[in-house]
Symmetry: C2
Subunit: 285 residues, 2 copies
């Protein structure tokens, strides 16, 4: 029996004094998919229907960056710093070639790792995310900020930030919330220091550069799948189109009646799309 | 044995003196998918890998609008006129509820039918197409016009108009060309009169309205799947994003390194995406 979302032990691996927390589940063989999490999120902010769905025929590894939730160490305050922790972690586990699934802030980090370490990364899934200096990524509405920075996040925050306001989407949000709490030993919340460091990284990533906007996207060599909801109020959905248009080998999927957390609203459909992408020959070069 | 792309007989059905040419293939039961073709295209401009792929578990019906290729009658010179022929044809076949797959001009027609006859249409796939008055749909480059209006279209026209200029895409274009010619009794070419009438319909559809741009999209009730290539030089790809953003229940898929004819470049992947869409419960309301 392979481990599942709810049975996989939380493990730690130490590099240069940083104890990274992670979980490994699913198949023993195949290219592992490393999950990189959103602002403040830890190992239990993922949807078991997504993690177990992808883990059916490949290893899935959930990872907390340094200083985030149950990981030790100082939280990095730049996307580049977070990317370095990812490669240190992969090295510590002896992983030579993996796929990345980066959600939101995790998607910023995934882009950076893919760019800096093309030999390590086979394919990349970018969910609810955007390019460095994208459209409308340098500011948030007061209501988004209020929900995103609540000391102890509650259901209503996720319903507002991750889902559309339709009845269907809100119901999907509540179902996600139940699924993500189905594991008994939940990861600890991230600290205020982690929130502050990540906030700085997000603010810097959002700054529109004076020239060569999106130039780094054109240097991403891996096949990429970009997914989002139709109206993401955290990272505006147009950024998913921009990612697709500028990354040389990128496929885009946008889901209806949904927001930032579309992959948690349509977990089965997303897993189907992700598997077609990860397993497809046509996407490779 | 059910009929396939290459064995299905070309049939005709008459309504008000117009003899519509069509072919029916695939499964005997299930919601039929009606294929609506591009500018000048006839029954043999489809990709057998797409038609047979979708026909595995549902009926597929290829249709020539009035005056197009082997259909009789006067070619309509408005999208609305073409939509009326579609509903007349459905009525003649006794079809009460179908799915539509509209490619390019066929996608304009599919939108119009979905809007005017919501009771007839269950779901819609829009490929390489755009909304009425979309972005850059009111003009074509001289080179596009030259290739699109050649008296007898040749391989090079399709390689330029439907595929990207990469080696991979061009090779996929040649493979498509072979597949689409694999049937022995090919449909006849469309007349110059059909080209002229369709050209007028396309020009009128491309005009940007002075107000309420995209208002009609917001009245489309059906679940819609929008697909295109990353750089469509006939109907700019941004229009696929616009369709997705304005149709209330629409999913978007954009393929890498491809153009207007992306569904012929990635036929198996497109069929997988189309089946997930057509069969999915989550898309329905």
């Amino acid at each position: 029996m392979s481990d599942t979302h709810n049975t996989a032990k939380t493990r730690v691996v130490g590099v240069d004094g940083v104890m990274y927390a992670y979980r490994r589940l699913g198949a023993a063989t195949g290219t592992p998919v490393i999950f990189l999490q959103h602002f403040r999120g830890g190992l239990d902010n993922w949807d078991p229907n997504v993690t177990d769905g992808l883990a059916k025929d490949r290893p899935v590894i959930l990872f907390n960056n340094a200083g985030v939730a149950s990981s030790g160490g100082e939280p990095a305050d730049t996307v580049m710093g977070m990317a370095r922790h990812v490669t240190a972690f992969l090295d510590a586990l002896g992983l030579k070639r993996v796929d990345l699934l980066g959600f939101s802030l995790g998607g910023f980090v995934a882009q950076q790792v893919a760019l800096e370490s093309p030999h390590l990364i086979r394919r990349v899934i970018l969910a609810g995310t955007g390019p460095q200096g994208g459209e409308g990524m340098d500011k948030f509405t007061p209501k988004v900020t209020e929900h995103a920075t609540r000391e102890k996040p509650i259901l209503e925050d996720f319903l507002y930030l991750f889902f559309s306001q339709s009845e269907t989407s809100q119901a999907a949000g509540r179902a996600f919330w139940e699924r993500r709490h189905s594991r008994l030993d939940q990861d600890v919340p991230s600290s205020a220091a982690a929130m502050a460091a990540q906030g700085n990284a997000i603010a810097a990533w959002g700054v529109v550069p004076e020239m060569d906007r999106y130039a780094s996207l054109r240097r991403i060599e891996q096949p990429v799948l970009v997914v989002n909801g139709t109206d993401d109020i955290m990272v505006p959905t147009i950024n998913s189109f921009i990612l697709q248009q500028n990354i040389p080998n990128a496929t885009l999927v946008i889901y209806p009646d949904s927001g930032h957390g579309a992959i948690f609203q349509y977990p089965e459909l997303f897993v189907s799309h992700a598997r077609l992408f990860l397993d497809g020959e046509r996407h490779g070069h």
